[in-house]
């Protein structure tokens, strides 16, 4: 008897700012859509354990997509993308997510993302508060400078290993070896996109002067950061949440920058709390 997972994968083609993207996503569950964004230079398999968490999928339609240029989502099919340096902008990133949610006809989804996915969750709360039921920015901050580095794709080094081992100590030493090495493995696969993603993460994303404009009555914001995250340390997230009227901050003990991927049993405790808060606020 074959041991199949309940998770299914599909492609959907969308148009974003004139770019034709054939987007791959994984889906399982029913109820409130919970749209999940992976971290920079990675892909949707980071959400593998959430996608199979029966307690969550009983009430939530979990959808984890690959952003264009990541995993099984190709670069734009109608562009000569190889002739330009890839630099992800906040505008394009927001438009991509909205176009994806529109294509799947998702009503009032919750958006959750980690790292550069967490930062775009803040952008969505600011720009599209009526399109999303709530956002859960994980390992995010109003501003995250310092990681847009040339070394991620330097031709004299093994970019796959530089990216994978360069993010190694973004994870907590307590996280299980198996899951830390899986995360390392994923990071060997996305080195060409990593640096371009980090243009958004460290350069184009800067909401330091805009936090007070986020309306959490229309779109609640529940931020979560792990104590071992050196890139977006807990105090950076706490300060960001404090700058958002009604913003909520949850600190996650003994976990790092890739919580859903490096130690899901710990992460799910905090995620359930975040979802409980959102239920209370949105019904």
């Amino acid at each position: 008897m074959a041991k199949h997972s309940p998770v299914i994968g599909r492609y959907v083609t969308i148009d974003v700012d004139g770019c034709e993207y054939k987007v791959f996503y994984l889906q399982n569950g029913q109820g409130v859509p919970l749209v999940c964004q992976h971290t920079a230079g990675c892909h949707n398999h980071q959400w593998r354990d959430l996608l199979e968490d029966e307690e969550i999928t009983r009430h939530y339609n979990v959808i984890a997509y690959d952003l264009a240029r990541h995993g099984k989502s190709d670069p734009p099919l109608n562009k000569e993308w190889w002739k330009e340096e890839y630099r992800l902008t906040a505008d394009h990133y927001v438009n991509f997510i909205v176009a994806f949610c529109d294509a799947l006809e998702l009503k009032n989804p919750i958006f959750m993302g980690s790292s550069f996915g967490g930062n775009v969750a803040l952008q969505l709360a600011l720009r599209k508060p009526d399109r999303f039921r709530a956002v859960i920015p994980v390992e995010a901050a109003a501003h995250a400078p310092g990681f847009f580095l040339d070394v991620w794709r330097h031709p004299h080094a093994n970019a796959a290993q530089v990216c994978a081992s360069g993010v190694w100590d973004l994870m907590a030493p307590q996280s299980p070896d198996r899951d830390r090495w899986l995360t390392w493995h994923y990071y060997t696969q996305g080195s060409e996109a990593f640096r371009g993603d980090l243009y958004f993460y460290s350069v184009d994303h800067d909401l330091r002067d805009s936090l007070a404009k986020i309306d959490t009555r229309r779109c609640p914001v529940v931020m979560m950061t792990g104590t071992y995250d050196y890139l977006t340390p807990p105090d950076a997230t706490e300060k960001t949440a404090a700058g958002i009227p009604g913003g909520i901050y949850i600190e996650m003990e003994d976990i790092g920058h890739f919580p859903m991927s490096e130690n899901y049993p710990v992460f799910r405790v905090y995620l359930r709390e975040a979802l409980r808060i959102i239920r209370e606020r949105t019904g």
């Binding site: 004299h156 080094a157 093994n158 100590d169 307590q174 050196y230």
Partner: protein, 127 residues
Amino acid sequence: MDIRDWAIRYAEASDADPTIGAMARYFTCTYLFDMSDAKAIVEMVDGKVHRINIAPQPMDPWDFALRASAQTWREFARAVPRPMFHGIWAASFRRDLRIEGNTLVLMQNLRNFTLQFELLRKVGVPV
């Protein structure tokens, strides 16, 4: 721990580590550990510790160096380091670790060097 004993333990741990051994063939570089109260230059050749110079002189060469206070090195050596002492990136972003020299060589050997650095949690430090 005497730095001589440390060097022996560090070399033995590194040479016996199966995760380093799995991809060690081209792990060749020379680096300085500057622990303030102790210094050592580690010379790696094809994945094995070729030599550890426990009394470096000013003109002794290295590719890259890691410099921090003795207290930071003791934090690195905890079995489970506290946050921000759990790696060279964390400690250079948030604590007093300075990475100097030809960092491209560090990047070329990053997978194995990262694993080797974490051996300090088992081996300890001589400061």
